[in-house]
Symmetry: C2
């Protein structure tokens, strides 16, 4: 146990706390690279400079460690969405153009955290893998941030186009928009090869981000105009 038996407060940053941290750090790298089943506890332990048994001791086993890693990852990624939701909650966003601007900013944040950032190379595959083939830890991601994020983006998409956020088509469009990242993350290697890039740093990230932002604004504005036309006709 990491807590005193008498008080419910951590007495001191126990010596185990350091081990836990090192295990989590090593596990993030391994799970990101090889997935839950593919990663080996022995490799994780060696990379962390710890004994194999320490994983069972500190996290109850491989799966417990995995859940903890996922939890930390999704917390970091969701920060952008949480900030966006706060702005949205304050009611400062009213007209479509503002919504589009906010969405562009949001996509920029996610892009930086998930793709351009060095740590993102570790976070993204974790989350993507859990989408493709959910393990028992899927809820850690979904309830830990994914659901909130999707709902918030849906509201903004609805605002931008001028439709209800609950409309199934709006939900589909939200998925489609956010799917851009899944596409970028998923085809990361292919895209890098095709462009002849080494990574998504500097100019490269700017170029990709520009396309993403352009897509968001052109698409949403186009859909809004299309809706206006139809409304005018009927």
């Amino acid at each position: 146990m990491r807590f005193s038996t008498k008080l419910e407060v951590p007495v001191r940053a126990g010596r185990g706390e350091r081990s836990r941290g090192q295990l989590l750090e090593a596990a993030l790298v391994c799970f990101s690279h090889d997935g839950l089943e593919g990663a080996s506890v022995r490799v994780i332990a060696r990379r962390a400079g710890q004994n194999v048994a320490s994983i069972s001791y500190h996290f109850g086993g491989k799966e417990g460690l995995y859940r903890e890693v996922l939890s930390q990852a999704v917390r970091r990624v969701s920060e952008a969405a949480d900030m966006m939701r706060r702005e949205l909650g304050e009611g400062s966003v009213q007209d479509p153009d503002e919504a589009i601007e906010l969405l562009k900013r949001f996509f920029g944040s996610v892009f930086r955290v998930l793709i351009a950032d060095k740590q993102g190379i570790l976070l993204a595959p974790l989350i993507v893998r859990e989408q493709t083939r959910p393990t028992a830890a899927f809820d850690v991601i979904y309830e830990g941030g994914m659901r909130r994020t999707h709902e918030t983006v849906s509201r903004l998409v609805g605002l931008a186009i001028g439709v209800s956020a609950e409309d199934p088509v709006t939900v589909l469009r939200t998925h489609s928009l956010m799917g851009q990242f899944l596409g970028l993350i998923t085809a990361r290697e292919t895209l890098l090869r095709r462009m002849g890039w080494k990574d998504f740093s500097g100019h490269n990230a700017d170029a990709v981000m520009a396309v993403v932002e352009e897509n968001v604004s052109v698409l949403l504005r186009g859909l809004r105009q299309q809706k206006k036309k139809k409304a005018g006709k009927s």
Copy 2:
């Protein structure tokens, strides 16, 4: 060996040919579900009604079987792109609107093969996984169809917007467009849950497809108009 030692022609559909087929069929299911490393040769063999050793015998090992499965999968998916390229080669496509129409048709084909079709549930994860984390068999997919497909779509995107197909931005936009599928495939489970669907059949597929097609036309038309405006200003 499946061939006569004297003639380079298969003497008869050897008894082994049947085993090979059953192994390939079972392997497609297993590799699609669990990936190259995750799938077990014993499970594959049992599902195929064959002995474990038959995999090494017929395909030289697990990896050989995997390559063969990949090869067949990419061949099936690339059919849509090949048809599109033939039309493009005949020079019947000239103006942007035609290009957009052809792209919409192409995306429809890919969508049906990769997402709506029952077999697609098997093909898609195979290809996506190879994108996220390329194995030694990556070239089977890339050279087996992916490259041709991307080049063809790039040409059409260039035609639709009125820019060069070799422009890096055009390549990025092509990736972004095709990434829609990666997004749909990757988040398949999440999307189904969110929409309360069981699968992508019937109305569900139509609804998703409608959004995808709308995205393609609205985005490309919007980009074309944007380009016209800019050209007019300068």
